[in-house]
Symmetry: C3
Subunit: 135 residues, 3 copies
């Protein structure tokens, strides 16, 4: 069973879509979500305190600053904007796909785990996530 979720983004940050996914799965099996882009990521993170999401975004913004930052002067792929190559780097440091067991119609997530799309680009994007549920 396969489908595709679309997550609308509006700048860097984490966008939760746990409910969309939870509403689609059924039975017992394995859910796999894969993002069809190389400048955004999928992460499972704490959904209790929104500060965690802000802190995560700020950590990665400091680890991989825009190409306008002197420390990134060695990067060559810069003509799609100062946020483009850093987005590819962040997309390599963070997951492209997630796999989550499903039991009796429920995602086997821990109490504090939510499913997020992590946007790395500045401009708004429609992000596509392919879902596969194996029986």
């Amino acid at each position: 069973m396969q489908t595709r979720f679309t997550v609308q983004t509006n700048g860097p940050g984490l966008y939760e879509f746990t409910r969309d996914v939870a509403g689609w799965v059924r039975g017992t099996g394995l859910l796999t979500l894969m993002i069809q882009h190389t400048s955004a990521s999928l992460v499972i993170q704490e959904n209790a305190d929104p500060e965690v999401q802000t802190d995560l975004q700020n950590f990665f913004a400091r680890l991989v600053p825009p190409t306008t930052d002197p420390s990134m002067a060695y990067l060559t792929h810069t003509y799609e904007g100062p946020d483009d190559m850093p987005a590819h780097i962040k997309a390599s440091l963070l997951p492209t796909h997630l796999s989550i067991p499903v039991t009796d119609g429920c995602l086997a997530l821990g109490t504090w785990q939510g499913i997020y799309l992590f946007e790395h680009r500045d401009r708004p994007h429609s992000r596509h996530v392919v879902a596969h549920l194996s029986g």
Copy 2:
């Protein structure tokens, strides 16, 4: 086929549980392990030399120091202790899940690969890992 493994941890570091997993799988299929926490990770790493595990832990401790370190003053989620938000960050940099093909009852790991839980918190924890084996 699904089960849940529990790994007891006692401070930051890598805890191998390859044998528990190898003893549970059977037949030919795909094994997926997912940790139900956002402050610990699952990794496949070299099991030959324990120095590799110590070095890995020290690398991540330097890349993401406690919030008491001046370089981390920008973090806001600090009320659960100086090791909490760094643990979430490490958990985003390292895998939440692993998928390993199984062939004739054996994990298709390379010669030097072991399965580890990577604990990021200081205090002891009971960590739950959900396992799904598809036929």
Copy 3:
């Protein structure tokens, strides 16, 4: 259905093998690729501009320099060469496995996504990647 791909490497960098994988999959299901080594990785990255691959490699070379670099003096696992322990660290920061939905015989990759083996060692290696396709 399982097989094993071999990717020959000749120093650090990204080696694309999307075509080998695309030629093997069939039907509708989930493909999982797992590398049987702890000093190389698998990544999905942009396949349009080769500069992206060079920049990625340079980012990781700076984030995790050789053990001859003074900043890495704390590492202890050094007797297999200055590129060995950094390779293990990079292998923990980058994926050991990839899972990609397959639809009607086609990998459900986005337009710009390619499948790469990311080599972290200096010397040439034959790298083995186990593939599992679930129906």
